[in-house]
């Protein structure tokens, strides 16, 4: 209905392959970005640090997992492990080598995570499906163990937790939520853009090829192992950076326990709900999974007043999560992203039904 595409024609392949070939989408994106940039002036700092920052961080994590699971079709339950690696690497670098710029240590975190991911991915050549999921599961336990039992990694703190130093980039202190928000926003946007680019180029096509029809992909000349490792690498890089942000920007003091299996599952839920194999979906999913408990909480209090016991709320939350996953997998396996796609199609051909 609001899509008025008449007169939008492409005179070059560049224009035709643009990320937002439809003008209305471009505008929409612009407005969204504008909102993201101005939102700190409208909302309380609490919102920034308790909702928006984690939203961005988890979107990035979901994006990372989506690259591996959604695009390349390799199910992984190990997301949190790679986040942990990213976080600890960044932390160790920034505490042991203060002269290294923070962003560099973030990137280093990503790269280390990527390497780790590729290592974990090696079995993926021989084993498929949830056999692989199991390997990633092992990664979670292994990692958790490493960061609890090998003191060097957390500098022998008694609590075995790492608390991040204050962040300074190019002389600017990132000490207020607003600043941290902007930092995260920029990083996430850039990385999302990069992901989009990769996914619409050769890499993305190769990923989807091995996901959709691996034999055919091989016959076309796609190298299985190489492609899968690249998938693990890129995905883990994103997760690593996400982990670093998680530690530095969001919690600012984490322990290995913050990267346990349930964290992985949360991120998996995000992409299932948001949309497997969709960049947009990663964001939608993250938003949904993060906001759901909050609304649940509000709802519960609205209904039952303050009498409600937080324990029950937590269990209720579990139920709703589980129910949602079941619902989405049955009703809309491609998640909210597909729902949006359908709505969009409807809008484009309105008033016609199809």
């Amino acid at each position: 209905m609001f899509y008025r595409e008449t007169g939008q024609f492409k005179t070059s392949y560049a224009a035709d392959r643009a990320i937002f070939p439809i003008r209305q989408d471009l505008y929409g994106m612009g407005i969204l970005l504008l909102l993201a940039l101005t939102v700190p002036f409208f909302v309380k700092e609490y919102w920034l640090s308790a909702i928006l920052i984690p939203f961005l961080v988890f979107s990035l994590a979901a994006l990372g997992l989506n690259i591996l699971t959604g695009y390349a079709g390799q199910l992984s339950l190990g997301a949190s492990a790679f986040m942990a690696v990213g976080a600890y690497t960044a932390w160790n670098i920034s505490t042991r080598l203060p002269q290294v710029p923070l962003l560099v240590s973030f990137i280093a975190g990503g790269i280390t995570a990527a390497a780790y991911g590729m290592f974990i991915g090696i079995p993926s050549l021989r084993i498929k499906g949830f056999y692989l999921a199991v390997t990633s599961l092992a990664a979670v336990f292994l990692t958790e163990w490493i960061f609890t039992h090998i003191g060097w990694f957390y500098n022998y703190e008694l609590s075995a937790t790492i608390s991040t130093p204050e962040m300074v980039i190019a002389g600017i202190k990132f000490d207020t939520p607003i600043r941290r928000y902007y930092l995260t926003l920029i990083i996430v946007c850039l990385m999302a853009l990069a992901a989009k680019n990769m996914m619409r180029c050769t890499i993305g096509r190769e990923f989807m090829a091995i996901r959709d029809m691996d034999v055919a992909a091989e016959v076309i000349g796609i190298r299985m192992l190489r492609t899968k490792l690249v998938a693990f690498g890129i995905s883990s890089f994103y997760l690593g950076v996400a982990g670093a942000l998680y530690a530095f920007v969001y919690l600012r003091s984490v322990s290995a326990a913050s990267f346990d299996l349930s964290e992985s599952l949360h991120i998996l839920f995000m992409i299932i709900v948001g949309g497997v194999g969709s960049i947009l979906g990663s964001f939608l999913g993250a938003a949904f999974i993060l906001l759901m408990p909050i609304f649940l909480n509000l709802g519960a209090h609205a209904v039952l007043g303050n009498s409600i016991d937080p324990q029950n709320l937590a269990t209720l939350e579990l139920m709703v999560f589980g129910g949602l996953i079941i619902f989405f997998l049955i009703a809309e396996p491609h998640g909210m992203a597909r729902l949006w796609q359908i709505i969009k199609e409807k809008l484009r051909i309105w008033p016609f039904p199809h």
Binding site: Q8, T11, W350
Partner: protein, 660 residues
């Protein structure tokens, strides 16, 4: 000026009296304006005026190199492709004459045209067309060279006279290097009196005649209409109608050159819809059938919409029907109505137009045949400024156009600028205009009997100016008859008017040398069938349905509606249908009642149904009739029927006359 700054070597002409000169002018004045797009390889390949001029120059040089001389004729066969338009221009630059042909006509159909017009070069689109040419090659000794645009599948052909477009261009470049001034010299030689193009009449009546147009005809007509409709270089046009048709030559070629607007060639015939949507033309021509099936497709697609969606759609369509056209005609409309329409525009009209790719249409024409008022009003009510025009190949299209704000579905408007129109005593429409054709090529006698020495042209159509000064075309002059009272009787006009009613499929009107009009009516089985179901009338078949009182009633209402209309018109009020009957069977081409193109064969019917006709003019109200019919399996049999004959009310002074 340096070659670099204007590749085609443009120059000013004080008199831009030929299209090539205008081309060069544009190449200079509108250097970087897009003048042509073609959807090819998935994107819109684009040429600016200067680029196109250069291509044309090279192509012209190539033709010259192959021995193309002044006054040589260049045949063009194919869908609307940029390179085919360039070929026309290239030929003109060399003082040659392009002869576009219908791409879908068979080898035997084109052979006559090729010979009559002494075509010596042909540019075709693809293998398919090449095959046609090869088929008739021996019969056309004059043809020297064939150029094909699309090399697909041509690898098997090795005839020496076949030229691939690319190699032609290469040749052209070489020739241009060797004769740098050649091109411009050739263009300079041209003048307004030169012949610009041969356009062949469709040839529905007799064999096609080659209409000779001079640049003066072409350019002046183009200018006038551009001024009238305020076309500008900003307009966008989709070229999708046959290049051989005069309309396409005027809209996609002449007007584009003069106004400087951009012509867009769709990717192929299946993608026209999508391509139209992408381009969003601002200027659009479509004969009634095209508008017709656009509308039907809308309705079909809406059929399986969710009920709410349907409700909304139909509600606002109702709104549009009431107010839309009036807003477009700048009549006074109540504020509420305007507001409702605005809402409808957001919810339905604009999205609908967008979905059809006609959002940007500023000016749309329909012509060729009468258009149903409902159809016509539908588009106007959406806010699309669609107009009827009345034209002919011989007039280089324009005779009459409906002026903005005075749109009536039953007239074709007032004479176009610089066009004089008069009606002969016999009631035939004649016109004289700058666009009037030079002659029929090599056909002086038919030239003589169509065109008077002082430049008046017989249209062969009967018509008259109504009270508003608008021209009304009623019929081919040869079909128009007279009532015994001497007033004119236009069967086709009546029939068309009736056929626009949804329940009526075919009509045969009588009245020549009689004192009033009568009609056979064939009901539309589907429409009436549905209607009957809704009223749950029981019927066994066509005959029983057609025999039904209620159906007679239904049809009578339609006829009386028409009569009311006719009564308002001094010239036509006598043509009101007084008695009618519903035929027990559909008119059928197999029974020889219709031509294969579903035109009524009056003579045959007169011979076949004398009984019924007499009955119509007698005063009995029932008539027994036996008809021979051919069954599916080829056997023939007799079916007998008692047909009721009903009377329809007359209006206006005729009604009074009835009383006496």
């Amino acid at each position: 000026m340096s070659e670099a700054s204007n590749p085609a070597g443009t120059r000013y002409y004080d008199t831009m009296d030929t299209l090539p000169k205008i081309l060069l002018y544009n190449a200079h004045e509108r250097k970087d304006r897009t003048c042509m797009r073609e959807k090819d390889l998935g994107i819109w390949q684009t040429w600016t005026w200067s680029e196109m001029a250069k291509e044309i120059k090279i192509l012209a040089c190539a033709l010259a190199a192959k021995g193309f001389k002044r006054n040589d004729k260049l045949g063009i066969i194919g869908n609307n492709r940029a390179r085919l338009y360039w070929s026309m221009a290239a030929a003109q630059c060399l003082g040659g004459i392009p002869v576009p042909l219908y791409q879908d006509s068979t080898a035997n159909e084109i052979i006559g045209i090729l010979i009559d017009s002494d075509v010596s070069f042909i540019v075709v689109e693809d293998q398919e067309q090449v095959d046609k040419i090869l088929e008739i090659w021996d019969k056309c000794p004059l043809i020297r060279h064939v150029v094909y645009e699309d090399p697909r599948g041509m690898f098997q052909y090795n005839q020496p006279f076949l030229n691939d477009f690319e190699s032609m261009m290469a040749l052209g470049r070489r020739y241009d290097r060797e004769h740098p001034d050649f091109f411009l010299q050739e263009v300079d030689k041209g003048s307004g009196e030169d012949v610009g193009v041969f356009l062949f009449t469709s040839g529905t009546t007799g064999k096609p005649k080659g209409v000779v147009m001079t640049y003066n005809n072409i350019i002046i007509t183009a200018r006038n209409t551009i001024e009238l409709e305020k076309l500008s270089q900003k307009d966008e046009l989709i070229a999708y109608l046959p290049m051989a048709w005069v309309g396409d030559y005027l809209f996609s070629f002449a007007q584009s050159y003069v106004a400087g607007f951009c012509v867009n060639c769709p990717e192929n015939t299946e993608t026209i819809e999508a391509d139209r949507r992408e381009i969003g033309p601002s200027y659009y021509f479509g004969p009634p059938p095209i508008w017709e099936n656009l509308l039907t497709r809308i309705m079909i697609r809406m059929e399986d919409a969710f009920w709410v969606q349907k409700k909304v759609f139909h509600f606002f369509m109702g709104v549009a029907k009431k107010t839309g056209a009036r807003i477009l005609n700048k009549e006074s409309v109540s504020l509420l109505a305007r507001w409702l329409y605005a809402v409808g525009d957001i919810l339905i009209y604009a999205p609908l137009k967008n979905a059809l790719g006609i959002s940007n249409v500023r000016l749309a024409y329909t012509a060729g045949e009468a258009i149903g008022p409902d159809l016509f009003d539908f588009y106007r009510s959406l806010g699309i400024n669609i107009k009827q025009l009345y034209g002919q190949t011989e007039a280089f299209v324009f005779v009459c156009i409906q002026p903005d704000g005075e749109i009536y579905s039953d007239t074709v408007g007032i004479p176009a600028p610089e066009v004089e129109v008069k009606i002969t005593k016999k009631g035939e429409v004649m016109y004289r205009s700058p666009g009037v054709f030079h002659s029929y090529y090599k056909n002086p006698e038919s030239t003589a009997d169509t065109k008077t020495p002082d430049g008046w042209v017989y249209t062969g159509d009967a018509g008259f100016f109504d009270a508003r000064g608008h021209l009304k075309i009623i019929d081919r002059i040869k079909d128009v008859g007279k009532f015994s009272s001497g007033e004119l009787f236009a069967p086709k006009y009546i029939e068309n008017k009736l056929k626009f009613f949804p329940h009526i499929k075919e009509v045969v009107a009588f009245g020549n040398d009689r004192d009033f009009a009568t009609a056979f009516i064939c009901i539309d089985m589907n429409a009436v069938g549905d209607w009957a179901e809704r009223l749950n009338l029981s019927y066994s078949g066509y005959a029983s349905l057609a025999g039904h009182e209620a159906v007679y009633q239904l049809i009578r209402e339609s006829i009386e509606k028409m009569n009311k209309d006719l009564a308002l018109d001094e010239k036509l009020r006598h043509s009101q249908v007084k008695r009618f009957l519903l035929l027990h069977k559909e008119l059928d081409a197999d029974d020889g009642e219709l031509t294969r193109t579903r035109k009524v064969r009056r003579k045959f019917i007169n011979e076949k149904y004398p009984v019924l006709i007499e009955a119509l003019y007698s005063n009995k109200d029932i008539c027994r009739f036996e008809a021979k019919v051919k069954f599916e399996d080829g056997r023939t049999g007799i079916i007998a029927a008692n047909l009721k004959i009903w009377k329809a009310a007359l209006f206006g002074s005729d009604a009074v006359r009835e009383e006496k």
